[in-house]
């Protein structure tokens, strides 16, 4: 399962909550971070996860996919002759190509996710997983990351890279096995972007968008009738109680505006929308995440 969406919408949190849920249900699950954010280690108070499959709690693993490490592993797995590998790793040309070729880092990252999801792992004596969750990088512009294999297959046309890219593209677009979840926020721009992201992912990349998570939905603590009462009381009160009423009105208005965005999101997207509550917590760590785990499907 690929968890995607714009920056700052809470992808990592949702990915981790989904992982915790699956693990609790007895599925051997791994959550993959990219771009060395190490948010998972933060949530679980670990030094760092790194490029190794690390157990967080029963059935729940995490890995931070570093493209350089993933590239190294790919070469190790595809070139069996040691002398050749050594020559390659020492070569300036290879270092240059690996660093400069656009999209290669994304490609090997997806490649590692694919390897983790194999029934017969390529990494020696590694066990297979029931579920692999990818906390995808923020979609800056459109669908870039998930489209990398397709772009590579087009550019390379023939040869081992083209074959590998084609394999990865088939893996991502296999609707039975791979699903995408988009995380969104209940605000106007993010809702519009989610709709166009869903469209691009479905039409251009041809992946299955199974689920949309609307994150950070305020609780609706006040009714329209409450608002009237609050509005009337606002002018009569002074000092801190007046601030408290103003805060209640602000939260109430925002909660209502968010529900309008929710309705709009549901009307302009095809995948089912699941709402996740705004957590009034200073920082989200494993404990707080359990509140989300309770509500994710």
């Amino acid at each position: 399962m690929v968890v995607t969406g714009k920056g700052g919408v809470g992808k990592s949190t949702v990915a981790l909550a989904l992982g915790m849920k699956a693990a609790e249900r007895g599925r051997r699950t791994i959550v993959c971070e990219v771009a060395s954010q190490e948010r998972i280690s933060h949530a679980f108070h670990r030094a760092s996860v790194g490029f190794k499959e690390t157990e967080l709690q029963p059935n729940l693993y995490a890995i931070s996919i570093d493209p350089d490490e993933a590239m190294r592993e790919y070469v190790l797995l595809s070139l069996k002759v040691k002398a050749m590998r050594d020559l390659l790793f020492r070569s300036k040309l290879f270092t240059y190509l690996a660093a400069a070729t656009p999209g290669l880092r994304e490609l090997v990252t997806i490649g590692k996710v694919w390897e983790l999801a194999l029934d017969q792992r390529k990494v020696k004596s590694a066990k297979s997983y029931d579920l692999v969750i990818l906390d995808a990088p923020a979609t800056g512009h459109g669908v870039g990351f998930l489209q990398t294999p397709k772009t590579f297959a087009n550019v390379a046309r023939v040869g081992p890279i083209a074959t590998q890219a084609e394999t990865l593209n088939k893996f991502l677009t296999n609707h039975r096995k791979t699903g995408v979840a988009i995380v969104a926020l209940p605000e106007e721009m993010p809702v519009n972007e989610t709709a166009s992201l869903e469209r691009d992912l479905t039409r251009t990349v041809n992946v299955a968008v199974d689920q949309i998570f609307l994150n950070g939905l305020y609780p609706q603590r006040f009714t329209a009738g409450d608002d009237d009462a609050l509005g009337k009381a606002l002018d009569k009160l002074t000092g801190p109680p007046q601030d408290a009423v103003a805060a209640a009105l602000a939260v109430s208005r925002r909660a209502r505006a968010q529900r309008e965005q929710l309705a709009r999101l549901e009307s302009i997207t095809r995948a089912p929308v699941t709402t996740l509550p705004f957590l009034f917590k200073p920082e989200l760590e494993a404990e707080e995440l359990r509140e989300l785990v309770a509500v994710v499907p």
Partner: protein, 376 residues
Amino acid sequence: MTSVADLVRDKRILICAGPGGVGKTTTSAAIAAGMAARGLKVAVLTIDPAKRLADSLGLPELGNVERQVDPMLFTKAGVDPGGGELWAMMLDSKATFDDVVAKNAPDEETRDAVLSNRIYKELSSALAGSQEYMAMEKLYEIWSEDRYDLLVLDTPPSRNALDFLEAPNRLLQFIEGRSLQVFLAPTGFAAKVAGRGTSVMFSILRRITGVDLLQDLSEFFGAFSGMVGGFRERATKVNELLADEHSTFVVVCGPQSETIAEASYFRDKLAEQKLPFGGAIVNKVHRAGRELPDDGGDTLRKALGEELGDRVVANYEDYHLLAERDRQNIERLATELGTDVIIEVPYLDDDVHDLVGLMEVNRHLFGPDALRVKTE
């Protein structure tokens, strides 16, 4: 200092950088509108504005040329900009890239060879870094024309703020692959000089990549080789412009600890590259009002009834929790950045989608210098 007006005093270029999803575009547009309202001729180069905001300012999609925002909109928003003008442009990075190629190509043949190269076509829009490079390219171009008092650049929605600084160099390194070209096309003299080691290397690489890809790459670098000098020269000039005393960077972030951490990292990188740092703008800050005294709950219950009063109290407690977190994070940010130039914009109740909304944001961005807006 708590006003953007101080931040951009004597500046001609303001670059708003920051992680995605923190409201960079709105902030850039608001600053540009605010300075135009103060009588300057301002252009904002933006990447991805909300459609409603773009529509309300009369901007068609992906123009790649600046358009003036109708002065009547200022009047309607209750502002008299005097001689000020607001211009805005949405960046089309593919079109800019094509322009740059056309400008740098020594002849038509080279230009067509690059523009029709398969790798170029795949990469010019998808290539990580091309958007950042093109944003700077366009900035330089408009600055050279010397038509504005102030340019505000809204940076591309990168995964993190740093991408904006690093991506152009990565792109340059890639197209500058002159040494690589020798390896990729080991024929004639080059092959003789490079000798056997290279051909072994070549055959190993071929096993990994496939020969076709190497050929396309070779053509790509071949076509680009005549232009690399022009690209490099331009990049140097752009860097000089960014490091100039008339330029300044602000980092736009949110009050959460992750984006705060990113902001201080960004500041370090700016210092490393000797680029000027102006300050930070923190958006969506939860601001608590005064704390309820012991009898505050009773006052509220009396005024609103038991049940509603309790809910208001509970809500206020939650709100305070977030406000307290934000306050601590912002304090940490000030310490880490070593600056007192931190401008806070509270979490606003409404989305910003027109000039009136931008002026409302400006009440916070410009703080004590905010213009009095006459609205009926």
